[in-house]
C-alpha cells in the first residue's frame, strides 16, 4: 500500500526558479493538504483541498499556488522561489469522517 507519495524527495533551486511538488494518494481520500516544516517549529498549513477542482488557503499561503485537477493528486507550485521557502514540505490526506491525516514522507527543498 503506497498511501501518500511525494515527489521529489529532495530538490535544490536557485532564487527565482519555479518548480512543482507532486502529491499522490491511492486511498480515494477527499481531502488533501500541504504543510511546511521549519526548524524549531511544527508543521504549518499552506493550502488545502476539499475535493477535485477545489483549493483553499491555509495559514501561510503566500508565494505558493496549488491545483487539484484529479482527486488523487495535489500539486504545490512555487512560481518564483525565494530563500524563505527553504523548508521541508509535507503532503497529507484524509477521508470523510474523523479519520486522522495520513502524511507523505516529505520533500526537502533548499533555495539558494
Amino acid at each position: 500500500n503506497a498511501g501518500v507519495t511525494q515527489t521529489p524527495k529532495f530538490r535544490v533551486l536557485k532564487t527565482g526558479q519555479s518548480m512543482t511538488l507532486l502529491c499522490a494518494q491511492d486511498m480515494n481520500h477527499e481531502y488533501m493538504y500541504w504543510y511546511r516544516q521549519d526548524p524549531g517549529m511544527g508543521l504549518r498549513l499552506i493550502h488545502y483541498s476539499v475535493g477535485e477542482g477545489t483549493t483553499a488557503k491555509g495559514e501561510v499561503p503566500d508565494g505558493y499556488n496549488v491545483s487539484r485537477l484529479k482527486k488523487q493528486n495535489f500539486l504545490l507550485g512555487l512560481e518564483s522561489a525565494a530563500p524563505s521557502q527553504t523548508s521541508v514540505y509535507f503532503c497529507a490526506s484524509t477521508g470523510k469522517g474523523n479519520q486522522p491525516q495520513h502524511f507523505g514522507d516529505g520533500t526537502r527543498l533548499s533555495i539558494l
Binding site: Y31, V50, A56, Q101, G106
Partner: protein, 117 residues
C-alpha cells in the same frame, strides 16, 4: 485561533524508564481532537495516539498513554518502558475543523526525545 505549546524543546530518558512530554493548548471550542505525532530521523510523521475531547477516558496505545485535562487544556504523553526506537521528535497537534469536512492541524513546536542506553 487555536495555539499549541510544547514547553520542553528536549527531553532525555534512560532506556526502560518512563518519560512524560508536556503539551498545552488554547481553544474556545468544546469538541475537538488532540494528537501526538512521532517524527523519527527518517522524517515520517507517525500518528502515536489521539484523544477525543468529549471522551473523559484517557487514550492508551500499548506503551503510550495520555493525561488529558480538559479544564486545564493540558494533553501530556507518557511513554512507559522507553525503547531506543522511541527516540524521535514528538509533536502535539490540535485538530480544528475548517469547512466542508476539511481539518486543520495546529502543531506545537515539538520535543526532541533522546533515549539513553
Amino acid at each position: 485561533a487555536q495555539t499549541v505549546t510544547q514547553s520542553q524543546p528536549e527531553m532525555s530518558v534512560q532506556e526502560a524508564e518512563t518519560v512524560t512530554l508536556s503539551c498545552t493548548y488554547d481553544t474556545s471550542e468544546s469538541d475537538y481532537y488532540l494528537f501526538w505525532y512521532k517524527q523519527p530521523p527518517s522524517r515520517q510523521m507517525i500518528l502515536v495516539i489521539r484523544q477525543e475531547a468529549y471522551k473523559q477516558q484517557n487514550a492508551t496505545e500499548n506503551r503510550f498513554s495520555v493525561n488529558f485535562q480538559k479544564a486545564a487544556k493540558s494533553f501530556s504523553l507518557k511513554i512507559s518502558d522507553s525503547q531506543l526506537g522511541d527516540a524521535a521528535m514528538y509533536f502535539c497537534a490540535y485538530r480544528s475543523d475548517i469547512i466542508q469536512g476539511a481539518q486543520k492541524l495546529v502543531f506545537g513546536q515539538g520535543t526532541r526525545l533522546t533515549i539513553n542506553p
